[in-house]
């Protein structure tokens, strides 16, 4: 019980230095701080400005910004990558929501969390992502993190997808596990999707349910398509959405 409580408190440590650059965060709060509890800030303004939030016209399926793409790369509000998934009958994911563009700053943040293992840094997201995740909470999606292989999980100590879900305040269910290691095989992505089984479905009845997959980055979409397929085909899920920190 105290273990769970600890988990909830993980992102609540009092910090007045920026978690990214370690500089003191200049307070913008007035005299009422004396009477009210001051909200904890984890990010300085300088660093906050370096994030690029996704906005404007986005691909209806993968959530990437369309305005940077040249005109022949999208059609009817969908990007060519997503249209290709559909053409090959491999589109199982209904929709991805990504919060940020994968710029150099985001690249650095994700690599600091994922490869260096700085879990605490995930805490910077909980103030930045509120609007977009409210929808999933109201609609009663079942949140499922994309799992790591046992080997990788031990090596890193934590799963960054799960950490992200936790930072968003989702209650997650571990309905998937990995069969293969994450190492990319030499086969093309459509080949891989046809032949390889990446995930195993743990015994859970998902028939007719709405699922929200959680991952760190949407790159090619292959991982999320694999997970969506098994959730729908074997688990009987009605809808599968996904939420990622970034769309590369």
């Amino acid at each position: 019980m105290s273990f769970l409580k600890n988990l909830e408190n993980l992102f609540e440590t009092k910090v007045d230095k920026c978690l990214v650059c370690n500089n003191q965060i200049e307070s913008t709060f007035g005299w009422f701080d004396i009477f009210c509890e001051r909200p904890i800030r984890k990010l300085c303004l300088k660093c906050e400005k370096k994030f690029s939030k996704i906005f404007g016209d986005i691909c209806r399926t993968c959530g990437r910004e369309l305005r940077h793409l040249s005109i022949e790369y999208y059609q009817d509000g969908k990007c060519m990558d997503c249209i290709r998934w559909e053409k090959n009958n491999q589109q199982f994911l209904d929709r991805n929501t990504a919060i940020f563009n994968y710029n150099d700053f985001m690249k650095e943040i994700i690599s600091r969390i994922k490869y260096r293992g700085d879990y605490k840094l995930m805490g910077i997201f909980n103030d930045l992502i509120v609007e977009k995740i409210d929808f999933f909470k109201k609609e009663e999606f079942i949140a499922i993190p994309i799992p790591l292989s046992e080997e990788r999980h031990i090596e890193r100590g934590f799963n960054q997808a799960e950490a992200f879900g936790k930072a968003c305040g989702f209650h997650m269910i571990h309905a998937l596990s990995r069969i293969h290691s994450e190492k990319q095989s030499k086969k093309s992505r459509s080949e891989r999707l046809k032949t390889d089984q990446v995930f195993r479905l743990e015994s859970l009845n998902l028939a007719g349910k709405k699922i929200l997959l959680i991952d760190d980055i949407y790159t090619t979409g292959t991982t999320l398509q694999h997970a969506s397929r098994i959730l729908k085909v074997q688990g009987g899920a009605r809808e599968v959405h996904s939420l990622t920190i970034a769309r590369s």
Partner: protein, 450 residues
């Protein structure tokens, strides 16, 4: 890839994570069983056992998949591989590895005052004392430590030469490797390939000393006053822990803090002072001149009058120091109208080295710079101006270092140093006083010609 290493050689004086030790797990555990190696907890009572950090901001927690509890981890030294409550540091406690004796092959000649410093260093080693070596820029301090290093090598001792700045380490490496060709030497800094190599003589950024525990008999700390060593108590602690209890620490600096200067003069701190340059000419003394509201002038796209006058008369290559990068960038196009052959440089500039080289070769006349070039750069016949010398980035040490860029070549031992200011500061006055004092002492001791 796990390669074959001699654990005794690899782990003597070090505290490493299992992932950093290139032997099979069974071999490591076997050594623990036999009592040659001990395991230390990664964190104890909220304190990192590698870097000594206990600041809450630099500690984090995560639900650990490995040990199935909430694990505390250190964010301060995370770049060296995360260390958590459930991590163990391995250290050698068996008979320490000994390296074969080797000697110095440097054939140059020391000046009288270098010789004096060299003797004092060896004396400090023999008696196990610490020593401050206060040597002005251009005194030739690297050669002064060769004698001490040779003495230590001859007696099978282990040595670290550490500096806060990677630039200095990279510059020292070829000189030490040439002087000590038979000695096993490893160079450690953030991106270095030799990180996991073990050697008798370690050349390292102060940061990388975290990997060592109780290892060194002689620790030479170069530029002891340079950022971040001077600012970071944990780094100082790390260098203490890396050295053996009875080790000798040699602090090399051109600009000791005022406290250290006073302690030296009053005899409270064991030290040797080298007030003159190798070429026996006096250290150039800065002059001060009022510049007015220079920030306002630059924002109105004007070059302040006193700077304008100076630049339009300037024939020699020059460095213009600015306290802030934004103001420097605004000033560049204005200054290029007076001296078109000018560029600017700052810490994150990828062409930093190239631009300094261009100035050295006379392909450009002037370089605008932040304090990044305050140390280590030598350019023949250069003059320097500090624009806004009143700014708090320009400490006494910074100003003395900046003045130290001038007159380094024996063919051109003089040059101009100008502090353009909007109000004299104590730091400016103390900097000039320090240089004047050095010259006076040098003259009294007969270390200057003419």
């Amino acid at each position: 890839m796990k390669r074959k290493v001699n654990l005794q050689e690899f782990l003597t004086g070090r505290a490493l994570l299992d992932t950093e030790i290139p032997v099979e797990k069974e071999v490591l555990e076997d050594s623990v069983q036999k009592g040659f190696v001990v395991k230390i907890e990664g964190l104890v009572d909220g304190r990192c056992m590698r870097c000594g950090n206990s600041d809450k901001h630099f500690l984090g927690e995560y639900p650990c998949f490995r040990c199935k509890t909430v694990c505390l981890y250190c964010r301060k030294c995370i770049e060296m591989g995360r260390i958590s409550s459930c991590s163990k540091l391995y250290t050698w406690v068996g008979k320490p590895f000994t390296w074969p004796p080797s000697r110095c092959h440097w054939s140059g000649r020391l000046s009288e005052q270098q010789m004096d410093a060299s003797k004092k260093i060896i004396e400090a080693l023999k008696t196990g004392q610490d020593l401050l070596v206060w040597a002005v820029a251009g005194a030739g301090k690297t050669e002064m430590i060769f004698g001490g290093i040779e003495w230590a090598l001859k007696h099978g001792k282990r040595i670290a030469v550490a500096c806060p700045r990677t630039d200095v380490i990279l510059e020292l490496e070829p000189r030490l490797k040439a002087a000590f060709p038979e000695t096993s030497i490893a160079t450690l800094y953030g991106a270095s390939e030799e990180k996991h190599v073990c050697a008798q003589l370690i050349l390292s950024t102060t940061h990388q000393l975290f990997r060592f525990k109780n290892a060194f008999d002689l620790l030479v700390v170069d530029e002891v006053d340079a950022f971040p060593y001077s600012m970071d108590a944990e780094l100082q602690l790390a260098s203490k822990e890396a050295a053996k209890l009875d080790a000798t620490t040699i602090y090399l600096t051109a600009t000791p803090t005022r406290e250290w200067q006073n302690d030296y003069f009053s005899g409270k701190r064991n030290g040797v002072h080298i007030p003159a340059r190798f070429h026996r000419h006096p250290n150039p003394v800065p002059t001060m001149k009022w510049i007015g509201d220079w920030k306002k002038a630059i924002s109105k796209k004007q070059v302040p009058a006193s700077l304008h006058v100076w630049l339009s008369k300037q024939k020699n290559p020059f460095l213009l120091f600015f306290p802030h990068i934004e103001l420097m960038n605004q000033a560049l196009p204005l200054i290029q109208q007076i001296t078109p052959n000018s560029l600017s440089v700052h810490a994150e500039d990828p062409d930093r080295k190239e631009k300094v080289q261009m100035l050295r070769e006379g392909r450009i006349q002037g370089l605008l710079t932040t304090t990044i070039l305050e140390r280590g750069v030598t350019i023949k016949a250069v003059d320097v101006v500090v624009v806004g010398a009143e700014d708090k980035t320009f400490t006494e040490a910074a100003l003395v270092q900046i003045a130290g860029r001038v007159g380094r070549s024996p063919d051109k031992p003089d040059g101009k140093v100008l502090f353009l200011h909007q109000g004299k500061t104590e730091e400016m006055i103390q900097a000039i006083k320090q240089i004047v004092t050095n010259n006076r002492i040098a003259r009294e001791r007969g270390l200057l010609d003419g």
